[in-house]
Symmetry: D2
Subunit: 337 residues, 4 copies
Amino acid sequence: MLPRGNYAFVMHKLPIGVLGASGYAGRELVALALRHPRLELAFAAAHGRAGARARIAGREITYVAAEEAPLGDAALVFSALPHGASARYVAAARAAGAKVVDLSADLRPGAAPAPAAAAALGDVPYGLTEVARDAVRGADVVANPGCYPTATLLALLPLLERDLVAPGATISVAAASGVTGAGNSPRGDLLYAEVAEDFRAYAAGNAHRHVAEMRSVVERYGADADLVFTPHLLPVARGILATIVVPVRESLAAPLDLWRARYAGEPFVEVSDELPTLRDVVHRNVVRITAMPAQHVRRPAVVVIAAIDNLVKGAAGQAMQNANLQLGLDEPLGLPT
Amino acid sequence: MLPRGNYAFVMHKLPIGVLGASGYAGRELVALALRHPRLELAFAAAHGRAGARARIAGREITYVAAEEAPLGDAALVFSALPHGASARYVAAARAAGAKVVDLSADLRPGAAPAPAAAAALGDVPYGLTEVARDAVRGADVVANPGCYPTATLLALLPLLERDLVAPGATISVAAASGVTGAGNSPRGDLLYAEVAEDFRAYAAGNAHRHVAEMRSVVERYGADADLVFTPHLLPVARGILATIVVPVRESLAAPLDLWRARYAGEPFVEVSDELPTLRDVVHRNVVRITAMPAQHVRRPAVVVIAAIDNLVKGAAGQAMQNANLQLGLDEPLGLPT
Amino acid sequence: MLPRGNYAFVMHKLPIGVLGASGYAGRELVALALRHPRLELAFAAAHGRAGARARIAGREITYVAAEEAPLGDAALVFSALPHGASARYVAAARAAGAKVVDLSADLRPGAAPAPAAAAALGDVPYGLTEVARDAVRGADVVANPGCYPTATLLALLPLLERDLVAPGATISVAAASGVTGAGNSPRGDLLYAEVAEDFRAYAAGNAHRHVAEMRSVVERYGADADLVFTPHLLPVARGILATIVVPVRESLAAPLDLWRARYAGEPFVEVSDELPTLRDVVHRNVVRITAMPAQHVRRPAVVVIAAIDNLVKGAAGQAMQNANLQLGLDEPLGLPT
Amino acid sequence: MLPRGNYAFVMHKLPIGVLGASGYAGRELVALALRHPRLELAFAAAHGRAGARARIAGREITYVAAEEAPLGDAALVFSALPHGASARYVAAARAAGAKVVDLSADLRPGAAPAPAAAAALGDVPYGLTEVARDAVRGADVVANPGCYPTATLLALLPLLERDLVAPGATISVAAASGVTGAGNSPRGDLLYAEVAEDFRAYAAGNAHRHVAEMRSVVERYGADADLVFTPHLLPVARGILATIVVPVRESLAAPLDLWRARYAGEPFVEVSDELPTLRDVVHRNVVRITAMPAQHVRRPAVVVIAAIDNLVKGAAGQAMQNANLQLGLDEPLGLPT
């Protein structure tokens, strides 16, 4: 939209590749890469779809097979492959000289069972960018957080860092996700007629894979607290809302100040007086958070509510924050706010 | 569907009236009354709709104005009038000799401010039928519980009655309701385009009117526990799902047995190994409950999940259970399971 | 709900079986059979689900494999098997002595290619019940109409029977169906996230299988008219709305009278002054129709709009009308209106 | 996202104002203006909302009252006021020296009754931009087409311009719109619970206001054809799909070539082999069109299907195309494709 001739120089673009590029998160990664001012798409690989075309962000791309992806052509590879299948591709990309952001659970803390290939890669930074920025900058491999942990941990962080959780507390996290969180493989229980006008919990009682990931992080802060996480399936396409009840050591008259202070200057964290909704955040790389004291209680508790787009801040967008840092670019480059 | 002449006698039908009959709960009451084998509709009153017609349950009815409703023609009056407006109609119906089920909050425990007319009526049974059956039977006036309290309290009851809640516990109730819970008055924020593909909390931090109602009941059991209640608005028409995390005194290996024992023989309570969904309960007068221990915790906690149709078990259906008991009929009469 | 002892006799129940009982239409058939006062379920067969259980209409059933279904135990078999696979089961059921309602396209007029087994069965009545009642009564095998043809043909019938379609006319049928019309096999394009907030035509240009079925029937009436049929996929679970524009020979001031006259006394056809909506008809065995003249035109045309539940009047419900007639029972028995 | 200092000059921005800026189309106009490289927002006026704030496109704006809008501060005013109320504001804006795009029906062909203020303005170009580009360029006032006419007329245009419609034909237009087409004023029939899982026709029989607008344009081409238009309400927020059946003079083996030829080089018209869906076009300023011959007919007919976002190409986006032309800017400036 700018008149021609306005640029004094041509910017060099770095090639990136996407593995698992036909899934919802993979397509979002491709879209971000295509719009990124300093990146260009080296390849988009999708299992069983070699040669197939897709229209993403107004451009037509052709998939290659994952096993034939030219990993060495990329400065950085995003892996959005399924859990368990990802780690060995991460290793292969490293061997080919590419940096990697792994969006699977394979390299995250608490991953169980950790794939053999993951062990060989050693510890890698857990890329909750707002917390781990220094470790991510320049890193060869980053484990991108899960969608639920991103919303939950960014919401809890100010309380954890200041050791405000009441000793012995049970923290309840009730989170609800749109159906893209379950991927786009055909599943009878995710058909429109099965999901519309319904709402359900799943993996209740701390049975979800993300619980170990969240507990690992919470424990780093030394809080003597349990986390009880209940995910739910929403009849919406995108978005996660996490509603978190935290018993705290002492009454906090204006708890939101904690979040404002912690996240001052963060481009992708919105602290708000108003209750965040999915609509506030979909298609944007932000987490939107509010917090308030619980009224009418004898022991103080804080209610924290956070919303993200599960495919953007909860997956591809945060992955791009990390990739930018790994490649030495400005963290916000190419990200929609 | 039965051949004519099969009946040896004509059953006497009792006349009932419905105030607030054009709202979602009111229409549901009219539908239940029209299908009830022992009740007949004396009148359906709706503010500002006198003379208007509606088709309900395959029958055409004509509304009368609330102030002109022939209260004395009814053996029992259901009031589905708005909170604050209901109590004086309850008093008028009593004065006219009718029994009453009040679906508003006016006569419920914790109502604030209690309308003047409510004070004059004195204490009336809180019609959580599975708990208060004896007090309801034959009662002149019953305060029908709110939709969220019905789901929440029936879910918590087995733990409260056995004093299993951990002392000092913070109980988290995250509940989500379909939009009919907000009534059918035109509101910009409830338009389709505002609700679809969104999800949000509201009245967070224990700001919802139902908190006082729930706390009043919980306190009767003497539990030293706080309740933190967060309601959410779902993009579905009907149904409530309540996800409740309860720190408990001791580990419960098979907590569901408590619910099975407490609700054995109850026609409108389904205790299930499977996670209940809205689809399981809509258009049915049941609460469906499951419970399980939280794994990976240092202090024991139980997750209890309950689903109801907010307009049936959460409003009109429970009201009909109560009405049947007040009128000396079988409690399940005319109710869909 | 009736007191025991009220019945003077025990009614004999006829055993029926359902093939393809795990699909949407098959489950609806099972539900209708379980609630039917004169039928009982002999078996429910589902491919690849032998031994699996399902809860339908409040009852738990166990599937048998289709190839092991005890066809001879049934007085009548409903086949809701896929097109192409159904005809040989119809033949087998006949050989075992059962009457059959075939819900597939195999035996319908215009079926192409007609399966070999279909040819052996010869011509069977096309069970558009309101038209073919006499042929269906007592018939051994009936071809149940498709969902779109049911709505379209019942809407067009009064014009066709009276030869009112303008010679040389192009009749446009734009019909939209809920996603259950596509069945419940897992398909990526029918996932919630792909269907919600979208709307699309498919098989446009008369490429849909149902076109031949509709044309065959229209041609029986000798109309010199073309039919152009465009189906659409709606983001709803159930229901079909067909909007039909018909150039007519002459102006019809009150065209709805034609429909009222034609369908007087029909229990499952509702002719209405108001525009029918899906909500009017879902879960009911009715077609609801209106018609009106097009204003502001130089040559007269009538707009006819019809709504059905694709799984009830468009499949299982009409099948039950036919089954009742085949078995000598009252046509409306066991059908929800 | 560009490094500072990259621009050699500061571009002059033209001030524009929006009347009716709190409705769906008005908000879309404000969003487009805020993102436009050569426009800036002079005011956003909304009836009864003076002083209220809204967050649009990431910016906070404050509404002024329509009657106090500083019309003279704007180089161009968009009026998204209701039909009947708009024309006198158009006149006032003209008197204050501003150019105007009127999104209401007041100045469109066929408007009935034409407001008095409209008569005083005389004939103004009907801004179907792809047809009327020359008349719009530099014009003082433009009547922006309705949403349904935009989709329908752009779809029909290649057939009309080449006189290919069969003489005496009845053209059927079945169009379905998302609920934002009805505006965001509170209405009971547009509540989520009333719209979800439903689908309905409205204003059938050519009773919709847009019929006169479409007929006026069709008649300019001299076609001896009737148009029968049936709009429907979809349970989606945004988008219009129009399915059009056109009897044609002669068989067209590859009708899509006509559309490709007519719209070659048009930035906002996508001619596609694939059937367009709402998802293809929402949030984009495009009409997406396909066409194909009807098979199995005796007289040739073409099916044309067009999709637009009713708020973008069907309202604010097309208005911006026109505004750009009126102001001497490049037509595509500031428009999302």
